[in-house]
């Protein structure tokens, strides 16, 4: 069976406290379901899962949480993911509605570990 995982990469320069960090990771974790939702009614969630996503959800649910120091680094990973065809979902931090929302983290996958590792091999765990 293929090794599957999801990687969540968080900006450390935003200095989140533990509560905020947990909240951002939780948002990022389900972002692939929310962004691919096909349902037109707000009270439904309709997502056609890929075989990897299905296996991950019902199986390992393995995650890796990593950190980057700047927004540029996060943008860079996002760009590389786009070019390499790896699913990437940005999460925006807009808890204070007066501020402009800014990217706080991204979720990569769920996908094969080998594919995700191409992007995160140089990053350090949070």
């Amino acid at each position: 069976m293929t090794d599957l995982k999801q990687a969540i990469i968080i900006r450390k320069d935003l200095n989140f406290n533990k509560r905020q960090l947990a909240s951002q990771v939780a948002k990022a974790s389900v972002k692939f379901l929310v962004e691919n939702n096909e349902a037109e009614r707000g009270n439904q969630l309709l997502v056609s899962l890929s075989s990897d996503e299905q296996a991950w959800l019902t199986g390992s649910f393995s995650q890796e949480i990593l950190g980057v120091s700047t927004k540029d680094q996060l943008d860079d990973i996002m760009f590389r993911a786009e070019i390499m065809g790896i699913e990437a979902y940005p999460v925006f931090n807009n808890h204070n509605e007066t501020d402009n929302p800014q990217i706080s983290c991204i979720a990569l996958g769920p996908d094969e570990s080998g594919v995700i590792n191409k992007l995160i091999h140089s990053l350090k765990p949070l």
């Binding site: 962004e35 691919n36 349902a39 996002m78 065809g85």
Partner: protein, 160 residues
């Protein structure tokens, strides 16, 4: 030619498609981005290739895309890179500031960014179109003269 319709899921964030004027530019962009020894950031890489057009799709926008061929590249340490030559007709949703608009784009795009099979990826939905489902006349929009070669051949035959 294969055609597909690209839409975004309701909650999807804006998506960017990188269109290069030629396959070689796309190859350079990709290898410089993917190779482990690269020190150049994404912004710098794009600055290095100012001729790459970024087609942005926001919620409500949709596009009809025609496949016009492909080219494969091989390089040490990376898997085969496949570049598709595409023609894009993008419909931008009307907003308070502007009415609905249609723009056309042409260039090379990575197969990883846009594959010509029914699928969904990162909030982008790709649906292959049959002749009956097509909404735009690409020949007219892109001023294609598909008969050119045939005509040339005909005249050649007549000449012979």
């Amino acid at each position: 030619m294969k055609k597909c319709k690209v839409t975004l899921a309701l909650a999807a964030k804006p998506k960017y498609f990188y269109l290069a004027p030629d396959a070689e530019t796309l190859y350079l962009l990709t290898t410089k981005t993917i190779k482990d020894n690269t020190k150049r950031s994404a912004k710098e890489t794009l600055k290095f290739h100012p001729d790459i057009e970024i087609v942005t799709m926001k919620h409500g926008d949709w596009a009809e895309i025609e496949w016009n061929g492909c080219q494969n590249f091989h390089d040490n340490g990376i898997e085969t890179i496949r570049a598709n030559y595409v023609k894009i007709v993008k419909v931008t949703k009307a907003s308070v500031d502007s009415p609905e608009s249609i723009t056309i784009h042409i260039g090379w795009i990575l197969c990883e960014q846009l594959g010509f099979v029914n699928h969904r990826k990162s909030g982008v939905r790709v649906k292959m179109l049959s002749k009956n489902d097509e909404e735009f006349n690409f020949k007219e929009l892109f001023h294609d003269d598909e008969n050119y070669d045939d005509e040339a051949q005909k005249s050649h035959v007549v000449f012979c």
